[in-house]
Amino acid sequence: MDLRRTFLIFVPFAWLLLLFLIPFGIVLKISLSDIALSIPPYTPQLDLSAGWSGIVEYFQALDLENYVFLTQDNLYFLAYMSSVQIAFISMVITLIVGYPIAYGMAKAPDHWRPTLMMLVILPFWTSFLIRVYAWMGILSQEGFLNQFLLWIGIIDTPLTILNTNWAVYIGIVYTYLPFMILPIYAALEKMDGSLMEAAEDLGCSQTSAFWLVTFPLSRPGVIAGCFLVFIPALGEVVIPSLLGGSQTLMIGKVLWEEFFSNRDWPVASAVAVILLLILVIPIVLFQRNEQKQREAGR
């Protein structure tokens, strides 16, 4: 066996096992444990000196109590549902906002495109926290948006947007917009423009040519973009904490508070395990979609 190859595989493999897989094992274990004194150690503890009976006892003491607790308290169920809802609505809005931008980029003259690409990517390199924070000053009661709307006379009294779900939608759409634009742009850019012309020559109106030709061909990009927005939005913490209000329930924020405020680690771990289970569905679908694209591309 080639020693160099073994070393090359071993180092990153061991790193990921130690700092990725084992920590998840610990989360799973603690989610099944009870709090001893609200701080570690958790019961049960593995007592290897007792031999086999110690191991059996250890596994018998693990239970689903924390999960039962999650089903009994309505808060968690509501938080899961409302996370899915908020992530989904934001995803749809991001698609509606992002598609025309990606389309405009694909239609733009060739020599503009590198600059346009850079303009889409630039916010992505800028701090996420700062981009969310920027909206706090804009959306508040006496913020920029309200001043502007009052000034042009659309409204008479300032709107309450900050600390509502609306602010959360705006925050998610704003921060994840590049993730939607880029895959759609990539799909549109590859498209052969003469197909559109052919459709129009054959008597399609521009609108129906778009819906019959362009949109179906950009579907892989749309699907990829939707997943890239939905998946991270589901576990979002910063946006609901800064822009959302007390009634904004998102599971990432609940987990955060369970951990940092209530210090209930077993329940926080159980919340994490269930969040992961919910995420597995879109992630698997996404990876299947990506693989299909890769095979189609070959």
Binding site: L19, G252, I283
Partner: protein, 274 residues
């Protein structure tokens, strides 16, 4: 997509789209020069918040911790991520291969709260005190996966016969890697490092879980001070950060465009000489 006209509709959607992306940051930058502490009332131009920021030791300390963590974690992540990319693209079959590639891709889609929680519980379980080291370990772990994606996309398109030629001509595998492979994948390795550095600088959630009392990073500091509302010092700090990123990204894109042009010129010249 060629063909079709660039219509007024396209122009409008681009204008509105980029206005949406950039206006919030522009407003932030403008208001960082506001005299008044009330962030929404304009009271004249002033740079006093920058002065106050520079005298705020807590922020400067946090910035230093952040840069340290960013440098070490992105450097480690680049080494490990490049290795991982090599393993994924080149190493063929080995026991645990699918587990390995699963672990390389999983952190990309993992919510940060879960990664943070898991790592914290792990550090506590092994009795490692939380501090700069634990943040570096945590950031390295998720950033190496991003580096690996960037580098492997370059490795996939890489012409292996170049490496084989070097080996045939008597290079040792390490020499072949250093003098042939590395220069070709270098742009991907560099962008991987930059990506890892940015991710580390930017991270709030994982750092909050894995930091100790003596190792507050800048995002943690910013988050705790903006929770209560907008503050002019944070506006000034944000402006500085936006400025650095803007200069960096524009420089990078000019450099890479020049290289592309030069490469095209070289190819043209080579063609004409034949």
């Amino acid at each position: 997509m060629n063909g079709g006209r660039f219509s007024w509709f396209n122009a409008t959607s681009l204008t509105l789209g980029f206005a949406f992306l950039y206006l919030p940051m522009l407003i932030l930058v403008i208001y960082s020069f506001n005299e008044s502490r009330l962030v929404t009332v304009w009271a004249g131009f002033s740079t006093k918040w920058y002065g106050e920021l520079l005298q705020n030791d807590a922020f400067l300390d946090a910035a230093w911790v952040t840069l340290k963590v960013g440098f070490w974690s992105s450097t480690l992540a680049t080494v490990l991520g490049t290795m991982a990319a090599y393993v994924v693209v080149r190493s063929g079959r080995f026991t645990g291969r699918s587990l390995f590639s699963g672990m390389v891709y999983a952190p990309l889609v993992m919510p940060e709260v879960i990664t943070g929680l898991a790592l914290l519980l792990f550090f506590i379980a092994i009795g490692l005190d939380r501090g700069v080291l634990t943040i570096v370990l945590a950031h390295t772990t998720f950033a190496m996966c991003y580096v690996s994606v960037v580098v492997s996309s370059r490795l996939v398109t890489f012409d292996r016969s170049l490496e084989e030629a070097a080996l045939d001509l008597g290079s040792t595998p390490f020499d072949a890697f250093r003098s042939v492979t590395l220069p070709i994948i270098a742009p991907a390795v560099i962008s991987g490092w930059l990506l890892a550095f940015t991710l580390s600088l930017d991270d709030l959630v994982i750092a909050s879980f894995t930091s100790g009392p003596s190792s507050t990073t800048l995002p943690i500091k910013i988050f705790s001070s903006v929770r209560l509302g907008v503050s002019p010092e944070i506006n000034a700090l944000s402006t500085i950060m936006i400025g650095i990123v803007t200069v960096g990204v524009i420089t990078a894109s000019i450099v890479s465009r020049r290289r592309l042009v030069r490469q095209r010129d070289d190819e043209q010249r080579a063609l004409h000489q034949e």
